[in-house]
């Protein structure tokens, strides 16, 4: 294999950084849109890790899983945006701390 070789560790480090950013965003942001975006970041970081691992061992599985994750992410966004619209319509806000009526 020629060209620039990016070491696996670097890719994994980037992936975990992205994952942590997404996680932090999910836990800290209140706006539902941003929470969905954080989720996207986390999904993509996981996908990145798969792709890197697939490249490292020269297996196609990593890229196949990436395609799966891509479609899952698309489905998730479709549902998520539907929810966003509904919540916006009902609560006139996207602040998730306000939408806490389903509690014990």
């Amino acid at each position: 294999m020629g060209g620039l070789q990016i070491p696996l560790e670097h890719v994994l480090l980037l992936a975990s950084c992205l994952f942590s950013c997404g996680l932090a965003g999910l836990m800290l942001r209140r706006n539902l849109i941003f929470m969905l975006m954080s989720l996207e970041v986390m999904l993509n970081s996981a996908a990145l890790a798969f792709v890197a691992a697939g490249a490292r061992w020269g297996q196609p599985d990593g890229q196949i899983i990436f395609l799966f994750i891509l479609s899952i992410a698309a489905a998730e966004v479709a549902v998520g945006l539907g929810l966003v619209l509904q919540i916006q319509r009902r609560f006139k806000t996207l602040d998730m701390d306000q939408a806490n009526r389903l509690r014990g």
Binding site: L26, M27, M35, M96, D97, A99, N100, L102, R103, G104
Partner: protein
């Protein structure tokens, strides 16, 4: 064509008709049907008895096979021998008189139809009991009379006390009946049949005198007899059973049903002869019962309770006779007792009827001139009960006492106990007569007994007087070794004892030579009085030992302690729910955060394990 099947069928038919009419039958019709069916049955019994007395031929009649399961094929079949003829005559004869008496006694009662229905049903069941040729049919009659006794004791069911007395009568006899059923099971498994004659033959064939099995079987059967015949320790129901109408007490609780136990033992005497220990127990139970009941009768105030205790006491004599092997004497006493005790009860009923339902003897008095027929009846009945010479009770009780005397070993003790009982009997009988019919008038009777009451009283008076001369056709049916000649002294003592009792009763209650009041006033006298008034506190003892623990247990179970476990589960779930529900905040970020930390925790655990 035999009339045998008509005898239980006629009362059964009229009972069915009356029950089906649901009380809407006019009282004239109910009375005619009730008395008439028993009268016709009595005529049939007379025909059967005449046929039997002509040639002493046992009559048998099989109606149909009751059920057929493998080798268990009980039949609806009757067998009439001397013992059955005697019992049938007593049941239908005395039964007819009591039914006739009931017409007047119950005329003003709104449910006279129900009354006659139950009475006829009782007579039918009792006839079935004595005519049955196998023990299963006998048991059907046995339970039938028990059910009728329950229905009639609780006849005036609007008073809860009467219902309680009825339940007590039923439950206490049920204890004995259970033992009896076990005895029947044992006999069937061991001997393979319940037909009485083959059963006796098989028992004699297979068992020796004194074997364990016959002792066990007879002991279980004895349990049934003790319950039905109100003997120690199952006698407590009979005094309370007096809650029923007085003719019921006369028919069921004096003349017929309570003697069913005596009949059962006499009917199965061959079996009991194989078990001498059981016979000894029967004799001792009879003796203890007759003494205890006689003492108790001496302290009662209620006219019917006195008679009830005296019934228990007299049946004690019959058991004593059975225990010493004098089966025929026992049946003889059963017959004379049926006459004079029915007479006494009917006379007491007449007193109660004419005195506005007054039961307390101390509120009676001076009735000698006011109710002459009743007085005469009571006098003759008491004379027979006390066994004054030449009354019917004299002959039968004499036979029992002399048979006891000649019993080897324990004989004199049994005789002495029986004699003491006879003394007490005569004291309490004449105490009753003197208090109720002599002295000052306390309550004025507001009516006189009519002919329906007077005729049965007079007929029973005659029977109580001459009954002692009857020769029962029992030879060949029941063994009665008779008794060896005894010294005249023993006979004189036996004759003299009732007269002594009469004298004592006269001195205490009529002559007032000895002040009974001052005797009662002393602390010891009062203690003795209250001890015997409470029937030696046996009722209280049972209440403490059996009823209270049982009801206590029932109350405990009513709170369903088993459910505590499940309730604890529910309670714990509720509690956990209360604690855990705070986690359900409804805040999305909180859920996400807790999932993250949960995941971290799991990861840490997994990684630590794999490291």
């Amino acid at each position: 064509m035999t009339v045998l099947w008509l005898i239980p069928f006629l009362p059964l038919l009229s009972a069915t008709l009356m029950l089906l009419s649901a009380g809407r039958m006019p009282r004239y019709l109910a009375a005619w049907l009730g008395v008439g069916s028993i009268g016709l049955a009595a005529v049939c019994v007379a025909l059967v008895a005449r046929a039997y007395l002509a040639d002493y031929q046992v009559q048998e009649l099989t109606l149909w096979t009751w059920m057929s399961i493998d080798n268990f094929t009980p039949r609806i079949a009757f067998r009439v021998d001397g013992l059955t003829v005697v019992m049938m005559s007593v049941i239908t004869g005395v039964g007819f008189l009591i039914h006739l008496y009931s017409v007047e006694f119950m005329w003003e009662d709104e449910s006279i139809c129900r009354y006659f229905a139950y009475m006829n049903l009782f007579v039918a069941a009792m006839l079935l009991l004595v005519m049955a040729d196998n023990l299963l049919l006998l048991y059907l009659g046995w339970e039938g009379v028990g059910a009728c006794s329950y229905l009639l004791v609780g006849f005036w069911y609007r008073d809860p006390d009467n219902g309680r007395a009825a339940r007590k009568a039923f439950i206490v006899t049920r204890i004995g009946d259970t033992a009896m059923a076990l005895g029947l099971f044992l006999l069937f498994t061991e001997l393979g049949t319940l037909d009485i004659q083959p059963l006796m033959a098989a028992a004699n064939d297979r068992w020796q005198i004194g074997d364990t099995l016959p002792i066990l079987a007879t002991a279980l059967l004895l349990g049934g007899a003790l319950g039905k015949s109100a003997q120690l320790p199952l006698h407590t129901w009979l005094p309370d059973a007096m809650a029923g109408p007085t003719p019921v007490s006369a028919l069921i609780h004096a003349a017929t049903m309570v003697t069913a136990g005596v009949y059962l033992i006499a009917r199965l005497y061959e079996l009991f002869l194989l078990a001498p220990p059981t016979l000894a127990v029967i004799a001792w139970i009879g003796l203890l019962t007759l003494l205890l009941a006689a003492f108790t009768a001496l302290a009662q105030k209620d006219i019917k309770r006195i008679l009830a205790y005296s019934t228990i006491s007299q049946i004690g004599y019959m058991f004593l006779a059975l225990g010493v092997g004098a089966f025929a004497s026992s049946i003889f006493h059963l017959v004379t007792h049926a006459f004079f005790k029915a007479l006494l009860f009917l006379a007491a009923g007449a007193v109660i009827h004419c005195l506005h339902h007054e039961h307390n003897i101390f509120r009676m008095g001076g009735l000698r001139t006011r109710l002459p027929v009743v007085f005469l009846s009571f006098l003759i009945g008491s004379a027979a009960l006390a066994a004054l010479p030449f009354s019917s009770g004299f002959f039968s009780k004499e036979g029992i006492l002399l048979s006891a005397w000649t019993q080897p070993g324990i004989g004199p003790w049994l005789w002495a106990g029986g004699l003491l009982g006879a003394l007490l009997t005569s004291i309490y009988s004449f105490r009753l007569v003197f208090i109720v019919f002599f002295g000052e008038t306390q309550t004025e009777p507001d009516r006189q007994p009519g002919w329906q009451m007077a005729v049965p009283l007079i007929v029973l008076c005659v029977l109580s007087l001459v009954g002692g001369w009857f020769v029962l056709p029992l030879s060949g049916v029941l063994p009665d070794p008779g008794h060896e000649p005894v010294s005249h002294l023993v006979e004189y003592i036996s004759i003299g004892t009732p007269l002594l009792g009469l004298t004592i009763a006269y001195l205490l209650y009529l002559g007032r030579q000895v002040s009974i009041a001052s005797l009662m006033a002393s602390p010891a006298g009062a203690a003795v009085q209250s001890f015997w008034y409470g029937g030696a506190h046996i009722d209280k003892l049972y209440h403490l030992l059996l009823v209270r623990p049982f009801t206590g247990l029932a109350h405990w179970w009513r709170n369903e302690p088993v459910d505590l476990l499940y309730n604890a589960l529910v309670w714990m779930t509720r509690w956990g729910h209360g604690r855990l529900v705070v986690l359900q905040t409804g805040e999305l970020r909180w859920y996400a955060t807790s999932m993250v930390f949960g995941l971290l925790l799991l990861l840490a655990i997994v990684l630590r394990d794999s490291a």
